[in-house]
Amino acid sequence: MTLLSLSSYLPAGDLARIVAATLLASLVAPGAVAVGIAGLDRRDDGAVAVGNTLIGVAAATVTILVAIGIYALVQR
């Protein structure tokens, strides 16, 4: 009943898209940082090339997420 009342004020489709976007970021962002942390550990263990690659992947993913965020902020 409450959800039905809410949906008359907040379109359910838009709400679902917002939830989907936040959940996707909640999976990708910490995952990317974890990859970066793994890269730091690998580098400390002497596997410099592998470590740098992992850190690069993590940095690129986070940069893309931030760029999408700023795009959303400016382009609404």
Binding site: T22, A34, L73
Partner: protein, 379 residues
């Protein structure tokens, strides 16, 4: 009109210092940045954010009150309601929505000036109440998921690497929240000033936001942010739940995503409620996590009270202004009374001063190894 514009800038200042916590409370709590540097970064990003967009500057209170009934004294009284409520909740250390305070203040003053016909109740439900019911849960869920992913994906890593990695990343996610706050909240005051100028006949309806309005609003919100609302930072950063760097990162990432996704789809959520939901969500995700529900309950009560309380203060201010034969005299008198009231509150607050130096005095720091076990719920 000059006094109303100045009052709008004071509101923007209080908005800044009240909401510094949104971006930086968890960053300060996890010591990802020292307190002064954190609020300095937030201030700069709020300043930059204010220049990013003015797309919704003209929509403040539209759809909630009848714009045709707005006069300069009504705007002034609404701002007084918002400022006083912001300062009261700051004194109590409660993170409450400055935007909802502004809406409440304006509704209160419109009710006194024009009666119930001046308020669009369905707009209040769709723009304030429904988003307020949804925002903390959406962000809380996202923060809970992010926290679990953060801990699970790093469980084989050394504690030191995990703490360091998430501390650095947290600076980025909280910066995004600060940027979004500057863009969203500075625009609200720009909208108020534009509305004042239009109501006062100094600007044609539909005009672009004047550059001086953008610049002064950006500076006011940045200065407010830099002054640091340490009381609210302490509550959000240390009293709701103990926060470790992976949790701080998760809460801020979830908050930034919720705010940005919702504003992209055209919804204006309260940054405060979103971030609060994120902090609660991340507390619920952690092994042995303690969520202080009494603190949460105080916050929720404040959220429920914000619109009616700011409305009551706004209505009282409007009554007082209207009691004078000249609106200008009324505005000046109410401004003086408000200044005295605020001075008294600040004086009382000074006795139990919370500063950058003692903001973390009561912090509990959990370790990364405490992840993913049942939550302990405390009263």
């Amino acid at each position: 009109m000059i006094l109303t514009v100045a009052t709008a800038l004071v509101f923007n200042f209080t908005n800044g210092f009240h909401d510094t916590a949104n971006a930086m409370a968890t960053t300060i709590a996890t010591e990802a940045l020292p307190p002064r540097r954190a609020v300095g970064l937030a201030a700069v990003l709020n300043l930059v954010g204010a220049f990013l967009s003015v797309a919704v500057a003209a929509t403040i209170a539209s759809g909630i009150v009848d714009q045709g009934m707005i006069t300069v004294p009504v705007i002034f009284a609404g701002l007084i309601g918002a400022i006083v409520w912001n300062v009261i909740t700051w004194y109590a250390g409660i993170p409450s929505s400055s935007s909802h305070a502004l809406v409440g203040g304006v509704i209160g003053s419109v009710l006194v000036a024009e009666g119930t016909a001046g308020v669009l109740w369905s707009g209040l439900a769709s723009k304030v109440i429904a988003p307020a019911l949804v925002a903390p849960f959406v962000c809380g869920l996202a923060a809970l998921v992010a926290t679990r992913v953060a801990y699970r994906s790093t469980r084989r890593r050394s504690e030191a690497s995990v703490q360091r990695g998430f501390r650095v990343s947290q600076i980025l996610s909280s910066s995004l929240v600060a940027l979004a706050h500057g863009t969203n909240d500075a625009q609200k005051t720009m909208g108020v000033i534009v509305l004042t100028l239009v109501a006062g006949g100094r600007l044609a309806p539909g005009s672009a936001v004047p550059t001086w309005v953008i610049v002064t609003c950006a500076i006011a919100v940045a200065l407010g942010t830099f002054s640091g609302g340490w009381r609210v930072i302490r509550t959000l950063g240390t009293k709701v739940t103990p926060i470790a760097p992976p949790q701080g990162f998760s809460a801020e990432t979830a908050s930034a995503t919720t705010i940005l996704a919702s504003s992209f789809f055209g919804f204006s959520l309260s940054t405060t409620q979103v971030v609060s939901g994120g902090v609660i969500g991340t507390g619920l995700a952690r092994r042995g996590g303690i969520v202080h529900w009494l603190v949460v309950r105080r916050m929720v009560v404040a959220w429920v009270l914000t619109v009616p309380a700011a409305g009551l203060i706004g209505a009282s201010a409007e009554e007082m202004v209207a009691a004078f034969s000249s609106a200008t005299t009324g505005v000046i008198v109410v401004a003086i009374i408000t200044a005295v009231v605020l001075a008294v509150v600040f004086r009382i607050a000074h006795r139990t001063n919370v500063t950058a130096e003692n903001v973390l005095d009561e912090v509990e720091v959990p370790t990364a190894g405490e992840a993913l076990a049942p939550v302990v719920v405390t009263p």
